[in-house]
């Protein structure tokens, strides 16, 4: 036994030392730097939300006298709750609408062969190239004509369907074999039933990814809700938070507290669906 162990140790000793891969450290360092950059604003947001007003411009991360007063103040202010609900209503409805209608259009463009299909798809895609800032004025004029100014409908209508969502869903439906659709057709389902019962469950990862994108996009939307709303009761959370800086002075501690509270739903949504969002982004990338 001893002999064997000795010989194996000898063998180990004669092995060439493993060459260290220093580029790995550089990669870690870069990632660490990137991570730090990303986490800094969030850390300051949280830190400021626990500070007294006189301490706001002090850049220390740990408040000297931490306080929950800002949270109590914001939560006791009825407006915050109202804005929170407004944002929630808008984000939820636009998300449901996008999941349904983007996938319906994506499915139609993918699985039905009809004249002009390609042109329609290109037309939808081309709208991706127009920045929101350019669309705001036409949207406003439309809202005015339809009498949608200062209403939920006015805030929501531009986002009820998106070109990106349609594109994403079309690409995902490409992965659903036609055999599934044809088998269902033979089994007697109508086209709407096939879409809902067969195709939709097969693209769940894409639906989840789309739901997250749309929810986050609408939860944080600022420019359009700011333009289309006049009454404070209809403000969304990001718009409402700015009133802390307009009406009195800039109350950073309250803005940061509101922002910290506003991130909670997005964090919940992300934590629930994160495995889908990663898969969704990867697959959208591959297919696109």
């Amino acid at each position: 036994m001893t002999d064997i162990r000795a010989s194996s140790e000898t063998l180990l000793d004669t092995r060439a030392p493993v060459k260290r891969d220093y580029t790995q450290y550089i990669r870690w360092l870069l990632l660490f730097g990137g991570g730090l950059l990303m986490i800094m604003p969030i850390t300051y947001m949280l830190s400021t939300s626990f500070k007294w007003p006189h301490e706001v411009y002090n850049l220390n991360l740990i408040p000297e006298e931490p306080t929950l007063d800002n949270y109590i103040h914001v939560l006791e202010d009825g407006r915050f709750f109202r804005w929170f609900i407004n944002s929630l209503i808008i984000a939820v409805i636009t998300t449901i609408s996008n999941v349904l209608f983007d996938s319906l259009v994506g499915y139609t463009l993918c699985k039905f062969k009809f004249r002009g299909r390609y042109i329609i798809f290109i037309a939808i895609l081309s709208t991706l190239m127009i920045p929101t800032e350019m669309l705001v004025i036409p949207w406003y004029l439309m809202s005015q004509s339809f009498g949608w100014l200062d209403s939920y409908w006015g805030i929501m209508f531009p986002g009820l369907m998106t070109a990106f969502g349609t594109f994403l869903m079309k690409q995902f439906f490409e992965t659903v074999p036609d055999d599934f659709i044809e088998a269902a057709r033979i089994d007697g389902l109508n086209e709407l039933q096939i879409w809902w019962t067969v195709a939709m469950p097969l693209v769940k990862p894409a639906l989840s990814a789309l739901a997250i994108f749309v929810f986050l996009g609408n939860w944080t939307a600022f420019i359009w809700p700011l333009i289309v709303t006049n009454s404070q009761e209809l403000y969304t959370l990001p718009v409402g938070l700015t009133t802390f800086s307009v009406e009195q002075q800039v109350e950073w501690e309250l803005i940061m507290t509101g922002a910290a509270l506003a991130t909670i739903p997005t964090l919940i949504v992300f934590l629930i669906f994160q495995r889908y969002i990663i898969r969704g982004v990867v697959m959208a990338g591959l297919k696109g």
Binding site: P177, E182, I186, D187, G188, L189
Partner: protein, 352 residues
């Protein structure tokens, strides 16, 4: 169970015609196999019967009813796809029961029907599993179950065994055949595998380039092929083809052999002689046909495939596995005259 008739069925994509006036009558309870190489139009024919492709012209009749303008669901057919097309998000029970979703049958009857089909397919224990938890053969059985559950007039199978490994394919072949014997439904089965066609069919339809080449029982198409394509497509290894020319009323092949044939032909007429490797033996009883040199040997155990050279033409013969010839041997190839086929070299048609 029902009859199926195709009359002058044509399919064209734009100006390109891919199916040319197909005529076929399938009897009630018949197992018919459409076979042919890729692009021959067999799947297109099946999909037209299913209603998944539009008919350019001609008629499709199922159980005495023209179905050209009916939706797939109204044709009383069920189809099994090459990729199974069973839904990964549903259990086996839901997959099998899927065909009954739109049926007005009461729920307990539906459940009983699903159980009955599962029992026939030996899948009772697997009803609560998801497709991901099943093997390839089991998945294919689920697909068959979904087709069976509706008790359709005609079953359509579109290359259902192509995705299975060789052993499983043989097993499923047997199972489908047994199933047909048990339920006695009319079946149209598409495959590119001639072995599947031969082993399963009551009648085989051999197709090429959108034309039917021959319709007949497996014995018919094997023993009396209508043309050179059928002769070479059916049977493995495929039939030896030796082109020759008529001289003085006898067939001259490879400028070395004179062969008598049972019909008259003018001098200079080009005739191809066909003989199956099974029928070409080395020595023994029969008419000596050729002197040949053994060039390659393929031992298969019970027998040996002998590749032999006849004046520049290679032919395949079979020899006993126990006493095969050696490489380079000069051998005499013999056959019975009734096992020899003759074809018009120019048209490819069989001469009888």
């Amino acid at each position: 169970m029902a009859t199926l008739s195709l009359r002058n069925l044509v399919k064209a994509y734009g100006t390109t015609e891919v199916l040319h006036s197909i005529n076929l009558d399938v009897a009630e309870g018949e197992f018919i196999v459409l076979v042919g190489p890729s692009g021959c139009g067999k799947s297109t024919t099946l999909r037209m019967v299913a209603g998944l492709e539009e008919v350019t012209s001609g008629e499709i009749e199922i159980a005495g009813r023209i179905v050209n303008n009916l939706e797939p669901k109204d044709r009383d057919i069920a189809m099994v796809f090459q990729n199974y097309a069973i839904y990964p998000h549903m259990s086996v029970r839901k997959n099998i029961g899927f065909g009954l979703r739109t049926s007005k049958m009461p729920k307990p009857d539906k459940e009983a029907r699903i159980d009955e089909v599962a029992a026939i397919l030996g899948m009772t224990d697997l009803l609560n599993r998801r497709p991901a938890q099943l093997s390839g053969g089991q998945r294919q059985r689920v697909a068959i179950g979904r087709a069976m559950v509706r008790d359709p007039a005609v079953f359509l199978f579109d290359e259902p065994l192509s995705n299975l490994d060789a052993q499983l394919r043989t097993q499923m072949r047997l199972e489908i055949k047994k199933l047909h014997q048990r339920v006695g439904s009319t079946i149209v089965f598409v495959t590119h595998d001639q072995v599947e066609a031969m082993t399963m069919a009551d009648r085989i339809v051999i197709m090429k380039d959108g034309h039917i080449q021959q319709v007949g029982t497996p014995q018919d198409v094997y023993q009396t092929p209508a043309n050179m394509f059928v002769a070479q497509f059916i049977g493995a290894p495929s039939m030896n083809m030796l082109p020759g020319t008529v001289r003085d009323g006898r067939l001259n092949i490879a400028s070395m052999t004179d062969i008598a044939f049972p019909f008259t032909a003018v001098d200079g007429y080009d005739i191809t002689m066909g003989i199956r490797p099974d029928d070409l033996r080395i020595g023994g009883e029969g008419t000596p046909l050729f002197e040949a040199t053994v060039s390659v040997l393929e031992p298969l155990g019970s027998e040996t495939l002998v590749y032999a050279d006849i004046g520049g033409h290679e032919v395949i013969a079979r020899a006993s596995g126990r006493t095969p010839p050696a490489l380079g041997d000069r051998v005499t190839l013999v056959a019975n005259p009734e096992e020899i086929h003759f074809f018009d070299t120019n048209t490819g048609e069989a001469l009888r």
